[in-house]
Symmetry: C2
Subunit: 161 residues, 2 copies
DNA sequence: GTATGGCCTGATACACTGTATCATACTACA
DNA sequence: TGTAGTATGATACAGTGTATCAGGCCATAC
């Protein structure tokens, strides 16, 4: 059982279920692809999923310190690279931080809604947005290969509260 | 006369004109607002405009070294903060770099088209995109306050060439 | 004309984020 | 087993950004 299982997430959901599902999905997906979700990578993924807030690489590094051996930065960055490559984790550019992805089946670059009150980030994978961006850029002669969309504002919970 | 005036920009335009116009616009705008475009800030703006590629803070720092005194990082970051606050410069999050804005009249966050071949970045200030993002987020209960949109791909020139 | 307060810059030190490189260990497969 | 490929450990360093204090400049008030 992980730390996350010990408490309920601020938004009221059972976050342990999020983590479990994410890890299970990752296992399945890596088996399918012949990719190796090693204990280290699994642990890093679990730490990224410790909340719905993006996590810094050095936060992960700190939490990997189990008293015995303290890993070095490349250890974390390599694990993150693997996870990102397989769509299991996204990098939030405007925060230099990392966020678990809950639908990694097809690789993608999502659109992120960053709440400036609670810090939670939700992924909005909107095809309309994607197409609009692609079309508008194309009208300027630009061929889009990858999209970074990060919106800061207020989430539904924080607006209500 | 600046360095930029000594050569023609890759895309074939007279880049010195870009720089001159940007600096002139900045002067006017700061006078209107009662903001102080000091020699240092003006110089930093000029260096940001040295090309249509985003420029790193430490590149600017290096070019500020006139042999006599070498400025320290905070000097550059403070100047950049001022310029960003007044919409004269944008920060490209995915590159940790800074780009001159050619229509700073009304403050805004633009959409950026980053060419992975030539490195040039053009700003696409598309209201349709802005509205689509705002609407789609609102449908998820999210109220957008600021947008970061950075698209990587191929510009018209590099596709043709 | 000087005094005062606010803004701008200088300067030192440090924090945070990420990478290059080489060595070691593990795994899968022949 | 042996071997090639992959994963991790470990050291060092590069790149990016900030906290903090001190000094300088300028406008306005008196």
């Amino acid at each position: 059982m992980t730390d996350a299982a010990l408490h309920i997430h601020p938004t009221g959901h059972d976050h342990a279920a999020c983590v479990d599902e994410a890890l299970e999905t990752a296992e399945t997906l890596c088996v399918e692809r012949g990719a190796r979700l090693t204990p280290l990578r699994r642990r890093v993924l679990e730490l990224v999923w410790s909340s719905h807030r993006p996590v810094g690489a050095y936060d992960i590094l700190g939490k990997l310190d189990d008293g015995a051996r303290k890993p070095a930065p490349p250890t974390v960055y390599r694990a993150l690279d693997f996870l990102i490559e397989h769509g299991l984790v996204h990098r939030i550019e405007s925060m230099n931080a990392y966020l678990g992805c809950n639908h990694p089946e097809q690789s993608h670059t999502g659109q992120f809604l960053i709440c400036r009150e609670c810090g939670n980030v939700t992924e909005m994978d909107d095809e309309d947005v994607r197409q609009t961006l692609r079309r508008r850029a194309a009208e300027k002669g630009f061929e889009v290969r990858s999209q970074t969309v990060e919106l800061v504002g207020l989430c539904a919970n924080c607006k209500a509260g």
